[in-house]
């Protein structure tokens, strides 16, 4: 352990909570879950295909890169990756990924670099047989600005541990597109530390896979930081998509805004959204808001949505949350149809409208268009196909 890691660990006052266990790289401290624990109770553990076992991960993902000027990629040992800082794994999956990845990849944006072209990382799975473990560090130097787009596709059994480090005044748009094949299993923990006056905007778009479970954990290295965490998911029959967010307001005058929206269709489509916010004693003057909305498009789906707020100081600007699970609003459909718009077209409009504010926030224009098209394609699979049959 380097001095930086020790001081990180010591500075934080411990807050007892079943919602977010103590982070550590020590696997012993993260026993194999039974499934009854708060952080595991929504996840179908059997479908993780052995990702909770401590076995070497022999598989890999095909990687394609587009690195604009000012951005470098290098290999590190796992020890070197941990020494760069950031929060240790909160759960067993994260600890296993960090331990079994073999080596780590550092994506480095130089200080004060203004990278206008997106950094693109395409990760493609070529089979589910051999498990893949990944360890990535994304570091954005002070006052630098960058967009990083990570696109997942193909078949895999993948467990990733990603550390995001934003220097003072840095700005990062981090976009994850999880558009896996139907048989993919993907677990990932993304632990981000936001520097003083830095801004992290993260987008997660989860559209495909058998099971996807991501945990994003954010804390702050100083006052004035902002974390905006946006997500969109569209679960089909049998798919389990789980997004867990934890914002640890451990510094004053910090801001967080979490908005996740999902649609579900088809038998046994299951989505889980957990939004945890901790406001520590020192975190005076912070502002936080978290929101999750789910649109249940057919019978037989389940959307779990749990916002949690732990407050240790009342000296804040604001803290709020909203959570909703609903069906198509009959009145909306009636209004549109009363103007001559067919039922199928009306449903398309409503769903497109539901996701529109999130998609419009994406700073990569061709990606926004692609996502709109994909949402429509998803709709065609059940909601619109069912209408044609009826």
């Amino acid at each position: 352990m380097t001095a930086a890691v020790v001081s990180d660990a010591l500075e934080q006052e411990h807050v007892e909570s079943h919602l977010h266990p103590e982070p550590t790289y020590d696997l012993e401290a993260h026993p194999t879950p039974t499934g009854r624990e708060e952080i595991w109770r929504f996840t179908p553990l059997k479908r993780l295909r052995g990702l909770l076992e401590d076995t070497p991960a022999a598989g890999s993902l095909e990687r394609k890169l587009e690195l604009p000027d000012g951005v470098t990629l290098s290999e590190l040992s796992l020890e070197e990756a941990s020494a760069l800082g950031g929060t240790a794994p909160f759960d067993r999956l994260g600890a296993l990924a960090a331990r079994n990845a073999g080596s780590a990849v550092l994506l480095d944006v130089a200080a004060e670099a203004d990278v206008t072209e997106p950094v693109r990382v395409q990760l493609h799975g070529t089979g589910t047989e051999e498990a893949v473990a990944g360890r990535v560090v994304i570091r954005v130097g002070r006052h630098a600005r960058a967009v990083v787009l990570v696109e997942h596709s193909g078949s895999t059994t993948y467990n990733g541990f990603t550390t995001v480090l934003l220097g003072d005044g840095a700005q990062l748009d981090l976009v994850h597109v999880n558009d896996w094949a139907d048989d993919a299993v993907h677990a990932e923990q993304i632990n981000a530390r936001v520097g003083r006056d830095a801004t992290l905007r993260q987008f997660e778009f989860t559209l495909g896979g058998d099971l996807v479970r991501t945990s994003t954990n954010v804390d702050y290295a100083g006052p004035g930081g902002t974390a905006e965490l946006f997500g969109l998911y569209f679960a089909d029959a049998g798919q389990h998509f789980e997004h867990r967010l934890f914002v640890d307001h451990n510094a004053p005058k910090t801001t967080s805004n979490v908005v996740y929206k999902g649609a579900l269709q088809g038998e046994k489509a299951h989505t889980v959204w957990i939004g945890n916010v901790l406001i520590r004693k020192v975190a005076e003057g912070i502002e936080t808001y978290e929101e999750n909305r789910n649109l249940v498009l057919t019978d037989g789906c389940q959307a779990d949505s749990v916002p949690n707020l732990e407050i240790e100081t009342g000296e804040i600007e604001g803290a709020g949350h909203a959570s909703a699970v609903g069906r198509f609003d009959d009145n909306q459909l009636f209004y549109l149809r009363s103007r001559g718009i067919s039922e199928a077209e009306a449903r398309k409009l409503v769903v497109r409208g539901f996701f529109d504010d999130l998609i419009r926030k994406v700073t990569v224009p061709e990606l926004a268009e692609k996502l709109s098209a994909q949402v429509e394609e998803e709709l065609q699979r059940h909601v619109l196909a069912d209408l044609e049959l009826a």
């Binding site: 009145n331 909306q332 149809r337 009363s338 001559g340 718009i341 497109r352 409208g353």
Partner: protein, 252 residues
């Protein structure tokens, strides 16, 4: 020509205590180019009549017929009714988040005409309709009814009436909640529609105020789910002077 014919219409809704009959045999014919006002106290079933004609799924038709130019309206789906030429301006227009007014209007116009409107003339038409209703040009970029004031919602309904150009318009308490300036703008919009060839209007209202700006050919007093009395504009004047009491007593 356009004739909306309602014969002995009976409608019920499901409540916790079982089905409840709301319309108890309504008969009404709106002929080519006529404007009919339906006036009645709260709870008399005026809005039920409007929504039943438009096909809202909450209202169950238990008897009677509705035809538009001889076509069976009750057999049609909600959107088919609109494409056949019916338009309902709603008392409480519904918010559709994320769907812009521009997109909504273009989609509706395309559905009703069966082809997309020509882009250049359409944008002009939309801007013209907005301007006539005192709505800012930026209005088209807002989400349908989301964050609109009460007056903006009603003016937006009448802008749609202008652009979609139905055969028969049903206006469900379009005047309620409007201040005098907005009422004049809305009334002028409805009158412009009436000036077009052969348009029918069914104006449902609680107040006589709007009838100073929109002159009906026929006035019907609606009480307890049916037409209690029909007459000319003078019937509205009587209501203005004496209220609904005479009709309520008769219904008891």
């Amino acid at each position: 020509m356009s004739t909306l014919e309602i014969k002995d219409l009976q409608v019920q809704v499901q409540t916790e205590d079982g089905p409840k009959e709301i319309l108890k045999g309504v008969t009404l014919t709106i002929k080519d180019g006529e404007t009919h006002a339906i006036m009645g106290p709260n709870g008399s079933g005026k809005s039920t009549l409007a929504y039943s004609i438009a096909g809202h799924p909450r209202y169950e038709i238990t008897g009677g017929t509705v035809t538009l130019d001889g076509e069976d309206v009750l057999e049609m789906s909600v959107d088919e009714r609109a494409r056949a030429g019916l338009f309902l301006a709603m008392q409480y227009p519904v918010e559709v988040p994320g769907v812009s007014v521009a997109n909504f209007l273009r989609t509706a116009k395309t559905a009703i005409d069966g082809e997309a409107p020509k882009l250049r003339t359409w944008v002009k038409e939309v801007n013209g309709a907005m301007e006539r209703m005192n709505l800012d040009a930026s209005f088209s970029q807002r989400s349908v009814n989301e964050g609109f004031s009460g007056g903006e919602k009603k003016r937006h309904e009448i802008a749609q009436l202008d652009l979609l150009d139905p055969k028969v318009a049903i206006l469900d308490e379009t005047d309620s909640g409007l201040d005098i300036d907005a009422l004049k703008v809305v009334s002028a919009g409805v009158n412009r529609f009436r000036e077009r060839e052969g348009k029918g209007v069914l104006l449902i209202t609680h107040y006589t105020r709007i009838l100073r700006y929109i002159k009906p050919d026929h006035v019907h007093v609606f009480v307890a789910g049916k037409v209690a009395e029909s007459g000319g504009p003078e019937l509205a004047e009587e209501l203005e002077a004496n209220g609904y009491e005479r009709f309520l007593e008769a219904a008891v």
